[in-house]
Amino acid sequence: MVVKEKKVGDAVVLVVDGEINFNSSPDFRKAFLKVLEEKAQKVVVNLSSVAYVDSSGLATLVEAHQKVKSSGGKLKLTNLSAKVKSLFEITKLEKLFDIQPTEDEAVKSF
């Protein structure tokens, strides 16, 4: 799994490529914590190239949501595949996150 960081306007977009699983979720967490250290207030996680998120990946996203919220910022998720979206639904997390269809819409929705 690879995480690339980019700026789109005043938002920070993390583009994830690969599965977020027990092996890779600590790396995803590291990338996210780095963004938070830089005091980002508008964060988008683009999951277009993520085929699967296991429960450690979901928990890492929940923590990211908590941390962004407690620092007064907002987190958006975008481009979820049907399979990843169903994982959010099964675990009842789809209501916790602001899930946008595209990166562009996510950036504009802040």
Binding site: R29, S56, A59
Partner: protein, 267 residues
Amino acid sequence: MEEKREVVIRIENLEKQFGGRKVLEGISLDVYKSETLVIVGGSGCGKSTLLRHIIGQLKPDAGKVYLFGKDITKANEDEMDSIKKRFGMLFQSAALFDSLTVEENIALPMREHTKLDDHIIKIMVKMKLNQVGLRGFGHLNTSQLSGGMKKRVGLARAIALDPEIIFYDEPSAGLDPVVTAVVDKLILDLSSALSITSVVVTHDMNSVFRIADRIVMLYKGKILQIGTKEEIKNSKNEYIQQFINGTIEGPMQFFAPDEGYLEELTK
């Protein structure tokens, strides 16, 4: 055309004897991805011994057991460790650590087998507890729990590492019928929501007909029949009919015949 199904467990001609007594006699069986396969049979029929071979606790005298395509009868310790991370096990006794809280019991496999941060583990434990309907019980000591709750905590621990297969050893043992139905519903929910393959060993026929996609009937170390619920219910096999109807009369003999009794007493 019949859809080709992915085999996750393959058992080939498995044989085992203990002290000269044959317990498994040439068992061959495929388990498909996402199905719930129930292994049924009376006490001593070999079903627990079969399960212990599938999870690598016992080595067979002959035959092979493939998990995810790997023959575990020949796997070394490292190979077995990586296979073990891919399946979960719910033991008959739930096998929880009484000195630990519910949360700590569920977190144990995560702490042992992953490098996840403690904060992430705590969130995961809450998610697992919610999946077995025990949200808010994490702080309790396991000794404070009823038998049914212990089973559900055991189940939460079995799914801690997102297994592809869960093995259940007598999940309804010691539970009342209502709690058994609750555990059965959890087995069904987990397999349908998370596409988990389930292998259940039991002799509780009510459970069997609630949860099974396919049933394997074992008797004296051999497979009598493998079939769907309907096929087993309508089986012409007299042993199977005796077992599912729970009758004393039938080909399975539970009492020694009277002949020779008096001679034996007065010998």
